[in-house]
Symmetry: C5
């Protein structure tokens, strides 16, 4: 899954019928340390996440599993959880890796 | 899904038979703030989008769901909606993340 | 789908049996304006494309749909069309997006 | 599969029901020489990996195969092994490639 | 498929049972001209490739097709061929594209 911040909303009236009633949120993918990890994605929301919240999303076929009532809807990104707490220890844990060698 | 702008059209006479009658548009993937997010994609259009319009696309298997009448056509990108309105709040929402830490 | 230029050929005698008889071409993915869009891919050719031609390719499962006679062959990239004409209007269409904001 | 280091943990109470009881770890993808290879991923753990350990993960549909008891859970990244030993010879092996030409 | 060089080996005793007996090789993805194309991947070997060899790999579901005897094993990258000969003409073929415009 990818971490991301809800940064906005997308509205569309001309769209595949299957999107009717779904909320489409703009997501900025993030790394654990808050740096941006790739371009904005548009995700269908299955958990009621609002702007500013830190969430995790799934891509492609697995995204459709978040909407079991829908059949054959072309969704390839879904919000499936809202993060309560995040423990990022990358600064400590990766210090030696960055000097070369993924050592164990 | 990915946001993108329709920036052109592709014509091909020598192609897989399944593409017959489909319109193939050139798409520039974009982030919500208008910056380019990766290289151009070629997408089959299912909603009648024209050059200059802001759309959202789906990739891989889910793209084929936009063309239910087609069977076994090798499509991996489809335009599935035209954006009416886009509310991008990335500037405000991400200000603190960018200083380090995806904090909640 | 991705635009790409056929830039060479790959020969392999030690390979999965399913590749027997298939032509494997080296593809440089391109954007509509001719800039390179990612690293070289190896694609099985289903349309008779030769070196120097501009083509479009599909990835992953959809690539196998280009070879319906083959069963369970591990192909994840296929050439499915040769481009006759390409109308790239990115320079005009994206001018305002690049100044910030994907505006409509 | 991707190499990665477990760099933290994610907690979420508001999430798809299928995630109940699964541990979600933050993963920093790495190359064999220890350099970071892309942004942080959130992976469900199937092997009991803890912070600081070097693991390998799988993405998309294959990730769900690591949890055979679960049905229709939107998981797209799973930790499926802990690395005991890693023999990275990239420095020697790639020396000539980097001077141009993937020569054999 | 992706070109890549075998640059090492990965050993893991704590892993999904399905990996038993499979050899996991470290792969550096390459472009046809020998430049590195993305971070290291871990691939299961189906053709007996050794360190230093130039191979091609497949990703995701198609990777599992290289191991037909295995059922429900979370493999998402497999070596499926060893390159005998590579004809990369990118220098000549792409010269004009790089000056702008994917022209035909």
């Amino acid at each position: 899954m990818n971490l991301g911040r809800v940064i906005g909303t997308v509205w569309a009236s001309q769209k595949h019928d299957g999107f009717a009633g779904l909320k489409m949120q703009l997501i900025q993918p993030l790394s654990g340390d808050g740096t941006r990890a790739g371009g904005t994605r548009v995700a269908c929301d299955s958990v009621g996440a609002g702007p500013g919240e830190l969430v995790f999303t799934v891509d492609q076929y697995e995204a459709t599993l978040a909407f079991p009532a829908l059949k054959n809807v072309p969704i390839d990104c879904a919000i499936v959880g809202i993060v309560d707490e995040l423990n990022d220890q990358s600064a400590e844990v990766l210090a030696s890796d960055d000097r070369g060698g993924a050592g164990l």
